[in-house]
């Protein structure tokens, strides 16, 4: 069943602030097996000139996926989650994410289109500080597979 095209251009209300915790950064870095001291050791982060622990480049997915799930699980969109795979992902930073940041995510659906029977949803999540300063934007393409054969990694 095709997805509801009315969702194209829809922007969701800003999320509640997500507080980036030192232990969350350490937990995420440990989960990806990355012992880079900037993720774990405050003295090392300071030595690099940073105010606190640095988050790994893909860390914002923790908060952007959460914000985006409001749209993805909206029954009116018509998405069958068992057929969903991750097609593309991109992060564009204005500055790194640091422990102690309080970040607000605004999720949007930029496009929905069909390619070879698959439905492709292009989404954007803008991450800003409570003061409105841009930190990072996460662009995603979510694929709803028409067939049972996997075409991608997630």
């Amino acid at each position: 069943m095709p997805l509801n095209p009315d969702f194209i251009g829809r922007t969701y209300p800003p999320s509640a602030p997500y507080q980036v915790g030192r232990e969350k950064i350490r937990e995420f870095a440990t989960a990806i097996g990355d012992s880079n001291p900037a993720y774990h050791d405050i003295e090392s982060a300071w030595a690099l000139g940073h105010p606190d622990l640095v988050a790994p480049p893909t860390f914002p997915i923790v908060m952007t996926m959460k914000a985006m799930s409001v749209a993805m699980f909206d029954p009116e969109l018509g998405l069958d989650y068992s057929r969903v795979v991750h097609g593309e992902q991109k992060f564009v930073y204005s500055r790194p994410v640091f422990a102690g940041d309080n970040l607000i995510v605004t999720a949007s659906i930029d496009n929905i289109r069909s390619v070879a029977g698959n439905d492709l949803i292009t989404t954007r999540a803008d991450v800003v500080t409570e003061g409105g300063q841009h930190v990072v934007t996460a662009y995603s393409v979510i694929v709803s597979r028409a067939t049972a054969l996997p075409g991608s990694g997630d």
Partner: protein, 142 residues
């Protein structure tokens, strides 16, 4: 660790030190917990197979996170990464055994820009096939 690579030392075509990463079921469970992505195809073999997958597959985001380590380990300061994007072209299948799925990652300087950044193109393979397409990072160097 201090960023030691300088922009004026880099040439287009230079290779970054390659790395390989082994992913076992444990890594998928840890990533699910840390990221909040509990999609069953990453930990439940029965359901993964019922939707046509050969077995449990790694989160694409986990492979993406591993691949950028070739850049962050090389640059020294992970905050040097200003942009990072990939396409997920093939699944990394993670069977229930102790060896794990091995993903090999290499990187090359594809472009040197006048604003002090470089573009690194990454190649990630699993069982001889690429699993990430158009994997590119823009990195600021001193």
């Amino acid at each position: 660790m201090v960023a030691s690579i300088r922009h004026d030392q880099i040439e287009v075509g230079d290779s970054l030190p390659a790395q390989s990463f082994s992913l076992q079921r444990l890594n998928l469970v840890m990533y699910a917990g840390a990221s909040g992505d509990f999609n069953v195809i990453h930990w439940n073999e029965r359901i993964a197979k019922s939707v046509g997958l050969p077995d449990v597959i790694a989160h694409g985001m986990l492979t993406m996170a591993e691949a950028i380590r070739v850049v962050t380990d090389w640059a020294g300061d992970p905050a040097a990464v200003q942009e990072y994007g990939v396409r997920f072209t093939r699944p990394v299948v993670v069977p229930d055994e102790d060896t794990g799925a091995v993903v090999e990652v290499s990187g090359k300087i594809a472009e040197k820009r006048t604003d002090g950044t470089v573009r690194v193109d990454l190649t990630a393979t699993f069982n001889g096939s690429t699993v990430l397409g158009r994997a590119q990072a823009v990195v600021a160097l001193p």
